[in-house]
């Protein structure tokens, strides 16, 4: 009978992993819709293709090599079937693989509307197969960084990946945007910046809601156990705090833009929700609901200023605001952990953030430059003007509607 009980614990934890994993997989749809809503309609088919393609690539490269690199166990998930002590290893892989896809999705929005599709896919193969698993091994995989030092020894912790997933994605995105340059027409000769509105706000909103929902899996699943009172309570607090932080992000961003510009800028409210979610991700288990709301609210405020500053001061053209949402706020998320978690040190968080950023940014920059040299990263001016949809995919997203 004891065995039956152990088996049931195994079953509950496995089931929990699978449900959480399915929710994270759903985030792929969220990124697709968000990005499809925030680009112009002439670049929509391409970004949809990019998103479904990158998800498929991430699932495959991580299976072939990435999971082994990050957690060991053998290439090609050698013999994963039917194994696992506390839960099915296959369920663990399923949960982990959707994380790497999330990191990659972050890149896709930032380089939208001007990158060659297959240059992006080439990047995705290496990023999901090597760059991300490397830093994943140093953090969640508990390996020493290049065999030198272990981040955990310095009091670093990143519960569900504000840094490991989100800031990493943003670092790769930043490298990409720097290599790629701004969209034609984004900046004027005098250096001022033009607004280039996205084409479909309901899609962007839908994408945000999908991400919000999926994030319950992202953070909730990162407790890694469910079948005891302690872990069940932990998962429940994580759900509660994840939701609270998103709410805080929306409210803060909405109030701020209303005060700054007198209007309730929807796109900033959406970014506020995502910022709240990114901010809480590094430590959704320790704060109270009120503190979680505040951590999210700070994220919501940061994101508004960050988007404006990157755009207007640094001339970094990020059509969906991914670098701000996932990078700047991801860093905030890491730094906020010590506020409510005594086991985590501020210096450890800084060291961890630095390690992740330097590695991912450096490796990505090198990779983007290699891709640029080999096949080029940017479509021609003519193709960009007509929209990458026709050039790369041969099809308009809304063939029947009259568009600019």
């Amino acid at each position: 009978m004891e065995n039956t009980i152990l088996e049931m614990q195994f079953a509950i934890d496995t089931f929990y992993f699978l449900v959480m994993g399915a929710l994270v997989m759903w985030m792929a749809a969220g990124f697709s819709m968000l990005e499809a809503g925030l680009v112009r309609s002439k670049n929509t088919t391409e970004i949809l293709t990019k998103n479904i393609g990158l998800f498929a690539i991430a699932c495959t490269t991580y299976m072939v090599y990435g999971y082994d690199l990050m957690y060991g166990g053998g290439m090609l998930l050698d013999g994963i079937s039917g194994q696992g002590d506390k839960y099915s290893n296959a369920a663990d892989f399923f949960f982990q693989v959707v994380f790497v896809a999330t990191a990659m999705s972050i890149v896709s929005g930032a380089v939208a509307e001007r990158m060659k599709l297959f240059a992006f896919f080439a990047f995705a193969v290496i990023f999901t197969g090597i760059i991300y698993p490397m830093e994943g091994a140093w953090t969640w995989g508990s390996e020493a960084v290049f065999g030198l030092f272990k981040l955990a020894d310095y009091g670093f912790a990143d519960f569900a990946g504000s840094g490991i997933v989100h800031m990493a994605g943003a670092a790769a995105a930043l490298a990409g945007v720097l290599v790629l340059g701004a969209r034609k027409g984004k900046y004027n000769k005098d250096g001022s910046s033009n607004a280039i509105p996205g084409s479909n706000m309901p899609l962007a909103t839908l994408g945000t809601f999908i991400l919000w929902m999926g994030w319950f899996g992202f953070n909730g699943g990162s407790v890694l156990a469910m079948a005891s009172k302690e872990s069940a309570n932990a998962v429940a607090m994580v759900f509660l705090n994840t939701n609270a932080a998103a709410a805080g992000g929306v409210i803060a961003a909405l109030l701020l833009v209303k005060i700054l510009w007198g209007k309730a800028d929807l796109t900033m409210a959406l970014n506020g929700a995502l910022a709240g979610l990114v901010a809480i991700t590094a430590g959704p288990d320790t704060p109270s609901a009120l503190v979680a709301t505040l951590i999210g609210a700070v994220g919501g405020i940061l994101v508004v200023f960050s988007i404006s500053t990157l755009d207007r001061v640094f001339k970094i053209d990020d059509p969906v605001g991914a670098i701000s949402v996932h990078g700047v706020v991801g860093l905030w998320g890491l730094l906020a952990v010590p506020l409510t978690n005594a086991d985590v040190l501020f210096t450890g968080q800084l060291l961890g953030a630095l390690t992740i950023f330097v590695w991912v940014f450096g490796a990505s920059l090198a990779l983007w430059l290699v891709i640029k040299a080999v096949m080029g990263v940017r479509v021609s001016e003519q193709e960009e003007a007509e929209g990458v949809d026709i050039a790369e995919c041969g099809l308009h997203a809304y063939p029947e509607f009259t568009v600019k």
Binding site: S193, N194, A195, I196, P197, G198, V257, L260, W261, K263, D265, T267, M268, N271, V304, I307, S308, D311, R312, G321
Partner: protein, 115 residues
């Protein structure tokens, strides 16, 4: 025959069409257009950046009529398209030009009878 081309505010469309029907105009072709004129465009906001939209949505009506109807048609449109009955900036324009020939495709009729 004359071609009357009127640029009006979109929400005046139904009123103008009804007024024209009443004076016996039996055909209108309407197009959604964007107008740039004395009426200034509004400011929009996108991710914290304000920008001005210069072109405002308008509706263009094209109405082919016989020459003797010009005055009544212009008069009717003017009245119906005026905001609140008094006229606001951006209410639009009416253009009159000459029309040499008209053919009704269905019957092959030409001239005023084809209108």
């Amino acid at each position: 025959m004359k071609m009357i081309t009127a640029i009006i505010k979109p929400f005046k469309l139904d009123e103008v069409r009804e007024a024209l029907s009443e004076i016996g105009v039996s055909g209108i072709t309407a197009t959604e257009v964007k107008g740039f004129g004395r009426q200034k465009g509004h400011t929009e906001l996108y991710r914290g950046a304000e920008y001005t939209v210069d072109f405002l949505p308008k509706v263009k009506l094209e109405i082919a009529i016989s020459a003797d109807q010009v005055d009544s048609v212009v008069e009717t449109i003017s009245t119906a398209a005026k905001s609140d009955g008094e006229g606001k900036i951006g209410d639009g324009k009416i253009f009159v030009s000459n029309l040499e020939q008209v053919v009704r495709i269905r019957t092959g009729e030409t001239g005023a009878v084809a209108l």
